[in-house]
Amino acid sequence: MTSADVRTSAGTAPAAVSPRSRNKAATRARSAKRAKAVGLNGFGLLIALATLFPIFWMISTAFKPSQEIYSLNPDLLPAHPMLGNFRQVISGNVTGGIGPVWLFFRNSLAVALATVLISSLLALLAAVAVARFRFRLRSTFLILLLIVQMIPGQALIIALFLDFKALNLLDTLTGLIIVYSAQALPVTIWMLRNFVATVPKDLEEAAAIDGASAPKIFWRILFPLVAPGLVATSIFAFITAYNEYIVALTFLGQTHSDYTLPIYLTYFFGEHGAEWGPIMAASTMYTIPAMIFFLLVRRRLVGGLVAGALKA
């Protein structure tokens, strides 16, 4: 890529200077430009294919019968694609399987949705506070958020385990929901704060002068304008809860029916005699919803961070 760029800049410059060689130089510039475009696109294609390959391999394996998976000469695509692996995972009737996969989908969705609701609500209230009011400790609170956001789960997990054990919340989805909601708060408050801050205060004041009540102002004016921000934070909270591993691993012990998808998948993966076909089928089923989610919201994914980093 680098050398192609150099060639172009060297090729175009003289074309502007000497009319006699314009034709020749223009041709040269054009072909250099084409070579550069081909090189660039080729490189892009290479990166894209390399990035997609592991995902492709997961899905391909999920559709292969056992003898193709362990074949001495593996094929890229299944020679005889079949749904058997998915059927086994769905029925739960498989070595290492601990129940039909829908059960764990239900657990993961319940935890993720509850986390979204709780963290969005609490974060919105806090975001209004930091974006709309000047008060003592405001900066302290914001800095506190940045710091706690960085405390790793591994550092807290011992105390969380003992506390939630004392509260009888181990082996329950409620325990997970509480931890995930709190963990999502620092980032969601920061993200929402930026959205609330962009809503002009005049709007609220005008509505207030017209005699609108506070809840009305909130629901009719602030809420619709902050809604895109809530979508972004909801996605963040959802993904956090849907992917979380260490807390679920520690909290969910022997009660298999409480497992969330990641714990179900690792249990499956760790069982002696479990086969790669069904494991990859389960992994595919766990992964696809997350991918669809990311694709739906691709444009909002970096907004928060970049907006913050560039605000200077």
């Binding site: 890529m1 680098t2 760029d5 150099v6 660039l40 696109n41 892009g44 990166i47 997609l52 592991p54 995902i55 593996p74 609490l122 974060a123 209230l125 806090a126 209004v128 405001r138 609170f141 914001l142 800095i143 958020l145 940045l146 706690v148 960085m150 790793p152 591994q154 550092a155 807290l156 997990i157 011992i158 105390a159 969380l160 506390d163 509480i178 709190a182 963990q183 609220e204 002068i209 005699g211 009540s213 506070a214 909130f218 992917n243 591993y245 691993l249 520690t250 990641p262 790669w276 494991i279 992964t287 991918m291 989610f293 990311f294 691709r298 970096v302 970049v306 913050g308 980093a309 605000k311």
Partner: protein, 335 residues
């Protein structure tokens, strides 16, 4: 919730009043809240309570455990919990396994952070110059890698590098020896042979999952740079390498600072990937996270030793976080 929001309306609330017989009560409460400027605190309270109880209090507890002898005998009540001073820390600092796991964590971050930043930057720069269709294709591919849940990705990479039927061993065993060394690659076990192969595998996995975030962020930054700047530099005959270092990088420095610190924290932290691939059954493949988890939860559990380690771990991360917070404040993020 309505009551918490009430102060938003400011003084007009009292003129307008509310329906029903409890208006006076509401108004009086509102007046109290306004007089003492309590509104922001009331709004903050639920979130702050959640953060304090679930994130801050456990950290304090861990600090307390680390100065006690809290383990199996204390849980069962056979022995009382006692203060033991710095005993846990000195046990930890004299444990060779601690230094081994610390070394693995540090080396991993030192290698993987720059690699991720470089790959992410190259892809970001490329996305900025590709045509629309190709750019969408590449960024979609990157997005899918990013979207893959870490647990899925770890299991998947384990399979690709698996000794029985894994694709990588199959490919390596078919390559000429002068290219891939004389190791017998058929059935080579990346996950359990030692720290180097295991963390090579984990490094590839982590880079695959985290370069898209860097690329997309760098791309978003590149879009904010006026095209004339690059154009001017190019007309002056500057090479792309020079343009990057003299024009692009200085403008994106704030973004890079944040990306660098985030990457350091993430890569120093990794637990999911190392637990699934290196796993708790390979002592010589522990990173710091696995070591803490092992001390705290492998039978017999010692919450105190685990706590001491977790505290050391948290302090290291807080030092890095301090830099991160300063980076944000310098950019006026608190305004």
């Amino acid at each position: 919730m309505a009551d918490a929001i009430q102060p938003l309306a400011g003084p007009r609330q009292s003129q307008q009043g509310g329906p029903g017989g409890w208006t006076p009560m509401r108004t009086r409460l509102g007046a109290f809240v306004r007089r003492h400027k309590l509104a922001p605190y009331l709004l903050l309270l639920p979130a702050l309570a959640g953060i304090a109880l679930v994130l801050l209090w456990p950290l304090i507890q861990v600090a307390i455990y680390s100065f006690q002898n809290y383990g199996l005998p204390q849980i069962t009540g056979a022995l009382p919990t006692q203060w033991v001073g710095f005993a846990n820390f000195s046990t930890t600092l004299h444990d060779p396994l601690f230094w081994l796991s610390l070394r693995i964590s540090v080396l991993f971050a030192v290698v993987v952070v720059p690699l991720t930043l470089i790959v992410g930057t190259v892809v970001g720069l490329m996305l900025n110059r590709l045509g629309r269709k190709m750019s969408i294709f590449v960024s979609t591919a990157a997005l899918l890698a990013w979207a893959t849940p870490p647990v899925s990705a770890s299991v998947l990479f384990y399979w690709i590098f698996s000794p029985d039927g894994g694709l990588v061993d199959w490919a390596l065993s078919r390559m000429p020896h002068w290219l891939v060394g004389s190791t017998d690659w058929a059935q080579y076990n990346w996950a359990t042979t030692g720290a180097l192969p295991a963390y090579t595998l984990i490094a590839l996995l982590v880079i695959w999952q985290s370069f898209p975030f860097i690329a997309v962020t760098v791309l978003a930054g590149l879009k904010t740079i006026p095209a004339e700047l690059n154009e001017a530099a190019r007309v002056d005959g500057a090479s792309p390498w020079r343009i990057y270092w003299r024009v692009t990088f200085p403008l994106l420095k704030p973004i890079y600072l944040v990306l660098l610190l985030l990457s350091v924290i993430w890569d120093f932290n990794i637990f999911t990937q190392s637990d699934i691939i290196a796993s708790l059954s390979n002592l010589n493949e522990y990173n710091l996270s696995l070591y803490i988890y092992d001390k705290a939860f492998t039978f017999p559990p010692s919450y105190s030793l685990g706590g001491a380690l977790a505290l050391i771990f948290a302090v290291i991360l807080l030092v890095i976080t301090f830099g991160y917070v300063r980076a944000w404040i310098r950019q006026g993020a608190l305004q």
